[in-house]
Symmetry: C2
DNA sequence: ATGATTTGCCTAGGACCTCTAGGTAAGCCT
DNA sequence: AGGCTTACCTAGAGGTCCTAGGCAAATCAT
């Protein structure tokens, strides 16, 4: 009997691919075991339980997003940075719907602190260096940007914008224009 | 043996209460059957399956939200309407977290069309009558507002804002100010 | 190389959820 | 009171989650 060579990392990676294929809610211990050709019980020496698996997946997704956004942001500032951030964020969500859904999990504070979630807020803050904003306006703006990006992507995926013919892409571009002008003239 | 007097409506209502208590993902056919003191199988003459139950719950939540927002909007315009809409939306999400989560379900196009989801976009559009916006800017603005409201509430519930001491309430108020000024000077 | 230890995957099995098929009895109608 | 509809039942199959305990493969010590 050859061993499958399972590790928590390989399981998490496979779970991420599975999530993008069949949706985050269908990432189950059983499905993952089937994928590796082993029995369900075999996974429990690598992961604590199903929730643990999903948390690991969420942490992976958060790290990947942070990397992408970080790359996109390099060497840019002002509106250039804003648009680059937004595109990187949205394209990740489109390419990896399952991982993106995982990244929205409610993590307990300890896990969240260790994850790349904090890096995210930090990078949003970096965008604002190109604008004339200082605390506490900066924090308010970070929250507004994050909310809008997440909200847009999540409504888009839920099909909330299909009822109207206006192109989703066009509205997105206009939203970024609007946010840019808002940041330049913060009330 | 007295009958429990189940109907699809009573089941949906109970499911809504259950969702707010234990979370949308824990609304199961079994839990609902336990609540009424009947066997699981008894529910299947009223609902088609577990997914059907959740869809009914989502439709209920969408209708409730539409009612609330509609009430809040009555007789207001401009920033007054914007703030009223936003407060109604956010307070519903806070008071009924389980139903709000249900309302985010991806509904198939037919169900979505029949539900109050369309009424939602229509009302957002009503806000904009107080501002000087016309198509296609109006649609873009509707999408931006909806995204921001949903994004803020959903990140707030996920605990994304806890990492920073700045009050979540203060940022929300500032976000509404910002959106108002954005709508008044749409680029 | 051989024996000892660790560790990866196994079987067995319990608890819970979903859903179908078919049966019994409660309530309504005439 | 008899008949019809329908609300709820029992029985049971199949899936997911997870624990306990066992065997064997890989790794390490001698």
């Amino acid at each position: 009997m050859a061993r499958a060579g399972l590790t928590a990392e390989r399981l998490t990676q496979a779970a991420a691919e599975l999530a993008d294929e069949v949706g985050f809610e269908n990432v189950t211990v059983s499905a993952l075991a089937r994928h590796f050709g082993v029995k369900d019980a075999s996974l429990y020496s690598h992961i604590r339980n199903a929730h643990d698996l999903r948390v690991r997946l969420a942490v992976l997704a958060l790290a990947e997003m942070a990397d992408r956004v970080s790359d996109a942001l390099a060497g840019r500032s002002g509106k250039d940075a804003l648009v680059a951030f937004a595109q990187a964020y949205r394209s990740y969500a489109h390419e990896h719907p399952g991982r993106y859904a995982a990244a929205q999990m409610v993590l307990d504070p300890d896990t969240a602190a260790l994850s790349a979630a904090s890096k995210h807020a930090e990078m949003t803050r970096a965008i604002l260096r190109g604008y004339d904003l200082w605390e506490p306006d900066q924090t308010d703006a970070v929250r507004l940007l994050h909310s809008t990006f997440h909200g847009y992507v999540s409504l888009e995926r839920a099909g909330a914008f299909h009822s109207h013919p206006r192109g989703v892409e066009a509205s997105w571009t206009r939203a970024l224009d609007a946010l840019d002008s808002l940041l330049r003239a913060w009330p």
